[in-house]
Amino acid sequence: MQSNNIFTAVNSVCSFGHGKKLVRAVDDVTFHIADEEIVSIVGGSGCGKSVLAKMMLGLHYPSAGTFLYKDKPITDHCVHWREVQAVFQDPFSCFNQFFPIRNQLKAAFGIYKDKPSNKEMEERVDQALLAVNVKPSEVEGKYPFELSGGQMQRMLLARIFVLRPKVLIADEPTSMVDACVRANILDYLMKLKEELKMTIVFITHDIGLAYYVSNRIFIMHKGKIIEQGTPDEVTQSPKSEHTIQLLEDIPEINREWIKA
């Protein structure tokens, strides 16, 4: 039986520590994410969204319940990472300061069993750079600290263009960039999705961003997914008490927020 589910979680738990110190970072979550879907996982700090992201990357295993990628448990990391990749929030801390950025983009090929020829790798890096609107000559021989924040964020995206994964986990990809630059980053992400027919999972605390980019939104709170649905369902007719509270607490320009 072939389903088009990318991720399937049934009563998945991910816990740390033991005894009295047991922390259920992800607590009994059930969901599925379909192929080519854009899903945002929204929640405050410590809600478990980052742990869930790491489960999707295979960096954490479920302590209980089922957690499947394409209907199979995640076993071989290297095989998994050929298809599932990530971008992180702080682009500066993502790259090694001691090596030129271009070499690090090329290092991404390390995930393949059979690396393409050097010439092909160089070509693919060039294409990826052009795809995020950076001339290869601009970053030639440059080290990460010589580039601006916006450029670095695009380098992370270029890495994804190089790897062409099936699934992208984007962990707060815009929280460190200026608001004005954010839309650019989102444009590139959407372009990636169109070109590669990717599935994207956004991890974010910003419901505005989630509302704008996603097909579906999961709201997480204390390790549980308390609400899932389309952006309009979640924001217009939330069912969970906490979601209602959360939406009310977010200051919005056009809505009365606090009585002065």
């Binding site: 990357l57 090596f99 390390g110």
Partner: protein
């Protein structure tokens, strides 16, 4: 390059490097330029002068020759102990800090255990049990083997802080194996730190050797700065006011250690911005 430029701006670094390379140079070319002899050349504790710049020891040996030889021994022991201690400390620290979990807990426990047991005690116990065959090299090795603990602690803290950095996660997503992650993505970040640890380990190796020699457990196969001092103490040179028996050796040890401390402190100032004005 920029780092070197900034280092050269620091007077502490210049003085430290000058003193250190100065002594190193003396140790290296001294024996070539100076006609060294370990034979009796005059009366016991003959005062400086008459061709013997720093006088003679209780066996009538030339102090300049003894000092040159002692300086070479001390530097050798310091570097040997420093290299061993830094290597062990770095390997344990970097691996434990990076791995985390049970391996780290065990390594950390072992380190903490040996941190509190005084190194001098272990040195004395081993040295005392090795009656013959207590060579300079062996002493250096023992100092290195017992002195790695704090460098392991220091490196572990650094590696552990790096472990959760995004570039490590990304390296994993690139398929890098643990060895490559350690060598390429962690070591360069803590290299300057490890180097500073090394400098301090060399200094502490020199100090440890002189301490152990001072109590009469020094090398039997050669002269070191510590054995010169031990001899001076044992023969009562101190009480007789024979300054040339211990002053030059004292000054030599202090100058090397001071130079190493200066190097370390000035590097700390450049690598650790908080310490700068």
């Amino acid at each position: 390059m920029k780092i070197l430029k900034n280092l050269l701006k620091s007077p502490m670094f210049i003085i430290g490097a000058g003193l250190f390379f100065g002594t190193l140079l003396i140790a290296l070319i001294g024996p070539i330029v100076y006609n060294m002899t370990m034979d009796r050349v005059g009366a016991q504790y003959a005062a400086p002068g008459g061709g013997y710049l720093l006088g003679l020891d209780d066996l009538g040996r030339d102090y300049v020759s003894l000092l040159l030889s002692g300086l070479r021994s001390s530097l050798y022991v310091g570097f040997l102990a420093g290299i061993i201690a830094t290597t062990i400390g770095t390997l344990i620290g970097i691996y434990g800090g990076f791995r985390g979990g049970l391996v780290d807990d065990l390594l950390n426990m072992m380190t903490n255990l040996f941190v509190v047991i005084p190194q001098l005690v272990i040195l004395i116990l081993i040295s005392a049990s090795l009656q013959e065959g207590r060579s300079l090299t062996l002493i250096g090795v023992i100092i290195g083997l017992t002195g790695w603990t704090w460098s392991a602690r220091a490196v572990r803290a650094q590696a552990s802080a790096l472990k959760s950095k995004d570039h490590i996660s990304l390296a994993k997503l690139n398929g890098d194996n643990t060895l490559r992650v350690l060598l390429v993505h962690i070591l360069p970040y803590i290299f300057s730190y490890v180097f500073m640890v090394f400098i301090i380990q060399v200094a502490s190796g020199i100090l440890s050797e002189s301490a152990i020699s001072m109590i009469g457990l020094g090398p039997l196969d050669t002269v070191s700065l510590g054995t010169i001092l031990n001899q001076a103490k044992n023969t009562g040179a101190l009480g007789d006011g024979v300054w040339w028996a211990f002053m030059p050796a004292t000054a030599t040890i202090t100058v090397i250690v001071f130079a190493l401390y200066l190097l370390n402190t000035s590097m700390d100032g450049v690598f650790n911005p908080r310490l700068r004005k």
